[in-house]
């Protein structure tokens, strides 16, 4: 089954894959966080809230306004960066060094970590391995990348 | 108690200027690239075991070549690194290898790291609902668990107290101490949790054993602390865990005791290998060891006052409080007591202290007790 990125179906597919591999995720340890994903697409924003508890992804939903959501942190990047990362994961079965979440967000150049509470921010690192392995599950999906939106003009 | 660096770095003009110059020009000193250290490429000798500390036992990095007295390093510098001028003194009090070392210390550490089980999830707590223990068994078991949770973390506090006093070159020992600290926290945790599932909660603290804990805590040297903690006390607790597994009221408890005894055996193993090393390399310690064991064994014998430990054991091993249960329990407990002391002296024999039996009042009383039991039988 093909899933489109970005879409709620994509993240639901990751959730399902994580459930299938729960023994592996269990060995990584407790994974207790709620974080947001924001994909910027030429003026349009796709935003999702991903909830994790104990060893499972317990919730995936789309949201119109991520800034109003009680998330620990938000991974934010433009569509091109997300797509490049996912293509890299699919090519190598897992993100290579240049495309890991850590590298992409390191200085906020390609991807940013947005947060209000430093405690929440630090959860990205407390659960770093689990976050990366969750994203790496995209290697097992058949993904159709949505075409980039035409840039919107201010005031139009 | 506090220490202040030899300089406030914000006021060290040379330091600040060098940083600013580096960042402005990208010109680096890079002298560390030519550090006067050995170039090695360690590999796993056994790929299934991964890369272990034993694989790193090469040249100046290794522990085999470590001298008996650490004269060259009183800082935090990693063993084998180049030590520049100006490193601070760590105030290590123990700088003699034979005070702390043990054969196979690196093996015990790696084993500990790979065998960290989790009291929260590795005991099948949900299966406890299948069991309903009679009141006397439940209470006796809760009391035994109360004793166990009470005493376990002395083996966190005592080694941890020494960790910072050891020279940094003995990091394999420090690392082992860290694993033991965690093991004991886990033991205190699992026994506490089990006691709080029984319906009887925790019960009575043990005065006699608390005094013994104070003795363990207040040793004069690391070697003495380790001897009584790892070899004598934990050795006897290991025997207790093995008997407890035998007399466990449920399968869940058998599993729990099997898990804790793995860790305990490792600590006892370190204790034995440490004593062997001390006797092989620091023979002057022999008489000090005997004097310390004199008092340790006094506390062991004084454990007879701990009826809050002895009596639950009798009830659990006899499986009840009727007279026939008590009689059966007394037989098993007497055997346990003999075995506990026998195994202690066997360990000392194996470590190279066979003369301990002749000197020890505990050994004499043990033999007398064995004779009485045999006569009664």
């Amino acid at each position: 089954m093909t899933v489109s990125f970005p879409s709620i179906d994509f993240f639901r597919a990751l959730q399902a894959r994580m459930h299938d591999e729960r023994e592996r995720f269990k060995r990584l340890g407790y994974f207790d966080t709620v974080f947001g994903v924001r994909v910027l697409d030429a003026g349009r924003t796709h935003a999702y809230v991903l909830s994790f508890e104990v060893f499972e992804c317990t919730g995936v939903r789309e949201t119109a306004d991520l800034s109003a959501e009680p998330v620990d942190f938000v991974l934010e990047g433009d569509l091109d960066t997300w797509v490049e990362m996912l293509r890299n994961i699919q090519q190598h079965r897992a993100a290579d060094v240049a495309h890991s979440i850590n590298t992409l967000t390191h200085l906020g150049e390609r991807m940013r970590v947005v947060y209000d509470d430093p405690d929440g921010h630090d959860k990205l690192y407390r659960f770093a391995e689990s976050v990366q392995e969750f994203i790496d599950l995209a290697a097992t999906l058949d993904i159709e990348y949505a075409p980039r939106q035409a840039a919107s003009h201010a005031g139009a | 108690m506090s220490y202040l660096s030899s300089v406030d770095f914000f006021e060290d003009k040379d330091f600040l200027d060098r940083y600013r110059y580096t960042m402005r020009t990208g010109e680096l000193d890079l002298s560390w690239m030519q550090a006067a250290t050995e170039k090695v490429q360690c590999e796993p000798q056994n790929p299934r075991r991964g890369l272990t500390f034993r694989d790193l036992d090469v040249g100046t990095y290794g522990f085999t070549n470590m001298p008996e007295l650490i004269r060259a390093n009183r800082s935090f510098a990693p063993r084998g690194a180049e030590i520049p001028a100006g490193v601070p003194d760590l105030q290590a009090e123990v700088n003699r290898k034979s005070e702390v070392w043990a054969y196979n210390i690196e093996g015990y550490y790696e084993e500990a790291m790979s065998r960290q089980w989790n009291a929260t999830t590795d005991v099948p707590w949900d299966e406890l609902s299948k069991y309903e223990l009679p009141e006397e068994i439940g209470k006796a078991y809760s009391q035994l668990l109360t004793f166990l949770t009470e005493v376990e973390m002395i083996a966190t506090d005592v080694p941890a107290k020494w960790m910072g006093r050891l020279n940094a070159d003995f990091f394999e020992v420090k690392n082992f101490i860290a694993t033991q600290a965690m093991d004991e926290a886990r033991h205190a945790e699992v026994f506490r949790k089990r006691a709080l599932t029984t319906g009887w909660g925790l019960m009575r603290a043990s005065l006699s054993n608390e005094c013994n804990l104070k003795f363990l805590r207040d040793a004069d040297s690391f070697a003495e602390a380790s001897l009584t903690l790892h070899l004598q006390a934990e050795g006897m607790v290991l025997t207790l865990f093995r008997f407890s597994e035998l007399i466990s009221p449920t399968e869940v408890d058998k599993k729990m005791f099997r898990l804790v005894m793995q860790d305990e055996a490792r600590h006892v193993g370190y204790g034995m290998q440490h004593l062997k090393w001390v006797l092989d390399h620091f023979p002057e310690k022999r008489e000090v060891i005997h004097r310390h064991l004199d008092e340790a064994e006094n506390f062991v014998f004084g454990g007879g006052y701990a009826t809050e430990v002895l009596e639950p054991f009798i009830i659990l091993s006899g499986k009840g409080m009727k007279q026939e249960n008590i009689q059966q329990g007394l037989k098993i407990t007497a055997q346990f007591n003999l075995k506990q002391v026998d195994e202690y002296f066997e360990r000392l024999d194996k470590c190279g202290l066979p003369e301990r039996r002749e000197r020890s009042k505990l050994a004499q009383i043990n033999e007398m007790t064995r004779a009485v039991i045999a006569a009664q039988a």
Partner: protein, 366 residues
């Protein structure tokens, strides 16, 4: 220093009489009707297992722990029946808000669940299969040499205090044990990384060690925790992020280490929040402490043994252009690190923006 028993038990007629009585079948049963709370705890969430939070009930729980522990200086388990005559084991930290954090139980459970073993959880063969260029490997070895020094101190910090802390705070002491083993793992993995790559260890650092000794030898536990977990932890976490971008094997090593370090930060923040909520007058003392201690951050971050390998790794080499690019990148990293550190402090009630010397130094045009 050694403690001796109150009696020579081998010549104690009272003990002999008691032993004979018990072994004749006449049990004392002094413990049988212990007046402690009778409860039966069980896991609230089977998937999570049986946690300390599940045991946070009544007199056994940590929520009901008083601020000052006056009645128990022994190792008698919290909630058990205290009997007369229990010895004083010498605890000098007996005030809850000096050590506690509301997240300490959860962090202890998380630490156990997220354990890993460097010997087998790292693919050491990958180093041989895909070695770094010699100068990058040398830089990584130097960085690991410094990180091994730092990890040793971060391991010794909890060990210095744990035996001084009252046993009533068992969850906190257990968390400190977890921190010890986490940092033992870091001592191990950084040493293994340096010795497996072909370059060996490099140079210890006088400035790093002076700074580390000042942090480690802080006078009180709150100061030590603030300096080690928050100040040093903030710097270490960002260094680990930086190191994770070097190669596949380092990606995994540094990411796993960052999990452990982030947990220490979480405790450090929780501890400060709790401490200042209960002892608000301590805020100015701690501000004063940081006024004179924050220079250690500089002493470590700007020491050549830390700074230069970070630059070489960031620029991917030692050619002038690489070093220039690497310097600019590391400068940006350190600015970000300081900003994150100050945000953490502000979040716990120690706002130092406008007071700390760090932002001005790291933001200064060079």
């Amino acid at each position: 220093m050694a403690y001796f028993a109150a009696k020579n038990f081998f010549e104690d007629p009272e003990l002999l009489a008691l032993t004979q009585k018990v072994f004749s079948g006449e049990l004392t049963l002094t413990w049988y009707d212990s007046p402690t709370e009778k409860i039966a705890c069980k896991p609230a969430d089977q998937a999570r297992g049986f946690t300390y939070e599940d045991c946070n009930v009544g007199t056994y729980g940590y929520t009901q722990l008083p601020e000052f522990i006056r009645k128990n200086y022994s190792m008698a388990a919290r909630g058990s029946q205290i009997v007369p005559g229990l010895p004083d084991l010498g605890y000098t930290i007996n005030r809850k808000s000096d050590v506690w954090s509301d997240n300490v139980g959860a962090l202890y459970e998380e630490a156990k669940a997220r354990r890993w073993a460097p010997a087998v959880d790292i693919d050491w063969g990958a180093l041989k299969a895909a070695p770094l260029a010699a100068e990058l490997e040398a830089a990584m070895s130097q960085l690991c040499t410094s990180l091994e020094e730092i990890a040793l101190v971060m391991m010794e910090f909890p060990s210095r205090w744990v035996s001084a802390i009252n046993q009533e705070f068992i969850e906190l002491k257990s968390y400190l044990c977890a921190q010890m083993i986490d940092e033992a793992r870091h001592v191990e993995v950084f040493r293994k990384r340096a010795l497996a790559g072909g370059s060996g260890l490099k140079r210890a650092s006088a400035t790093v060690e002076q700074a580390l000794k000042e942090i480690l030898f802080a006078e009180t536990y709150p100061e030590a925790s603030l300096a080690c977990n928050l100040l040093l932890g903030s710097l270490v976490l960002d260094i680990l992020q930086h190191g994770a971008a070097v190669s596949a094997i380092d990606n995994r090593i540094f990411r796993l280490c960052s999990q452990d370090t982030a947990r220490e930060l979480a405790y450090g923040m929780g501890h400060m929040r709790y401490h200042l909520a209960h002892q608000p007058h301590r805020a100015e003392f701690l501000q004063d402490f940081l006024d004179r201690t924050e220079h250690t951050f500089l002493g470590i971050a700007a020491s050549p043994e830390v700074l230069e390998p970070l630059i070489v790794l960031a620029g991917h080499g030692t050619a002038p252009a690489a070093l220039g690019a690497g310097s600019r990148r590391v400068q940006a990293v350190l600015r970000q690190t300081v900003d994150r550190y100050l945000r953490r402090l502000a979040a716990v009630g120690l706002d130092r923006r406008g007071r700390s010397r760090l932002p001005h130094f790291f933001a200064a045009p060079n």
